[in-house]
Amino acid sequence: MTTSTNGTATTAGARAHARAQHGRVVPTMRHVPATSAPSLPDDVPADAVTWAETVAFGRYTSLALARGTRLRLVDVAGDACVHLLLHRAGAPHERLNTADTVKVPWQAYLGTGHPLLSDAGRLLATVVADTSGRHDALSGTTTLAGNTERYGAGAAQSASPAGRELLLLGALKHGLGPRDVPPSVSFFKGVRVDDAGRLTPTGSAGPGAFVDLLLQVDALVVLANTAHPMDERARFTGTPVDVVAWRAPDDFAALAGDALVGELAPEHRRALENTQHDLTARSPR
């Protein structure tokens, strides 16, 4: 093929070639501004949206979100698995703690009304909607060594990236490091524990399931969409996930008023009050 006037042999040509790509829309991308997203769920107020992105299977994303933001993950095609970390913005040593998240509410399985807790006795977020019921706070994510053994590769740039590699990348982007990557939770692929303590994977709930989190603090959200660590299929298999976030002051007030997910359990209530106490103490007013 000969070099055309659109060729990239010159700076002008290279610039024109690059700029000609602007405005392209692909199936998996972030929409900036978020309000430019081509479609949003019907119940999401379009003018309040702050994040709209479709994350490819095998990739990750991150964004710092404000207190009072409602974050929705949608398993559009039914085979996503979203591994998630939360760090408090500005104080990332305070982060999602999976042990306290199951111990304090006396409940191993995530679902509507479940608090996501730090080990500092504070509420980072609440699960405020869930049509899946297949989630996992126990078995973590996949590893480089595990995916290499399982699929032949596990590096972030490979065809079967491990969850820990992707979550680490997300953390590194924000100035954090390996010490800041604790066990994560995952959504849309569940596990159950039997009376002997043995784990069984439940798989997916099917296409269209979604889960909503309501943030109680300004938080860095890092999420990776990659295979569940107990996925039993021989091939690395999955589908994209839709991520939508919006400012939800009415929901925020309703949660505290026991009107969003019903009456908060006493541990959840105290965690919310501890967070409010911390923020009130920092505030000049």
Binding site: A99, D100, W106, A108, G121, L138, P178, P182, D195, L199
Partner: protein, 222 residues
């Protein structure tokens, strides 16, 4: 007949030369590097004393115990003989080589002053808690808050009901019961002898535990 005042022989579950033999007072922290091949026996001296425990590769403390990886690889939330205690990388740091109880916890994590306020009420905030032990003992090795993750609880019993309800219930241990861990790599073992007084993990009464490290002879290890 006179009562012997000699100390009892170190009750190691795996015989060998004694490398270390220490009693950890009730509510106290403890740590040591256990060399690869050596075996740490933890003795629940008075029974039902939760021993909160974190592990770090001594050569690189970013390689640390992961409850999730440990659970997932053995497909069970229960630790007992044969359980590999794994890092986030998947690497085995230590392996349970003998166990006189049969059930130890991976999911309950540590108590903290702050989480005690959620579980039991604000009036418990000033009680001593495991996170404080981990922080202070970890600081001796250059570790800090970022290095603390969900931990092992030796001698603690946390069943999960069919509906997902879980809780710390009465322990299955008894005075003198032991669990033994072989180091697969040189491992920094960080311990909080749990000070909790609001649930049955310590029988509502924290008590001492004994730590014995043995080095099996080449003969015995064969």
């Amino acid at each position: 007949m006179t009562i012997l005042s000699m100390p009892a022989p170190a009750p190691a579950l795996v015989p060998g030369a004694i490398v270390l033999d220490e009693v950890v007072a009730a509510r106290a922290p403890w740590s040591a590097v256990v060399a690869a091949g050596d075996v740490l026996t933890i003795v629940d001296l008075e029974g039902n004393q939760a021993v909160d425990c974190l592990l770090y590769a001594a050569a690189d403390t970013t390689v640390r115990y992961s409850a999730a990886e440990t659970i997932r690889r053995q497909r069970s939330i229960v630790l007992t003989t044969g359980s590999a205690l794994r890092a986030d990388t998947g690497e085995a740091l230590m392996t349970v080589v003998a166990d006189e109880v049969g059930v130890h916890d991976t999911i309950g994590g540590a108590c903290s002053q702050e989480s005690n306020t959620l579980r039991y009420g604000e009036h418990t905030r000033q009680q001593h808690a495991c996170v404080e032990n981990f922080l202070l003992e970890g600081a001796r090795w250059g570790l800090g808050k970022r290095d603390l993750v969900p931990n092992i609880n030796w001698f603690m019993n946390v069943p999960v009901d069919p509906d997902g309800a879980l809780g710390i219930v009465d322990g299955l241990s008894a005075p003198g019961k032991r669990v033994a861990l072989r180091a697969d790599v040189d491992t920094l073992v960080l311990v909080s002898n749990c000070p909790q007084v609001n649930n049955p993990c310590n029988g509502f009464n924290p008590t001492p535990v004994r730590m014995v490290v043995t080095r099996p002879s080449a003969e015995a290890a064969r």
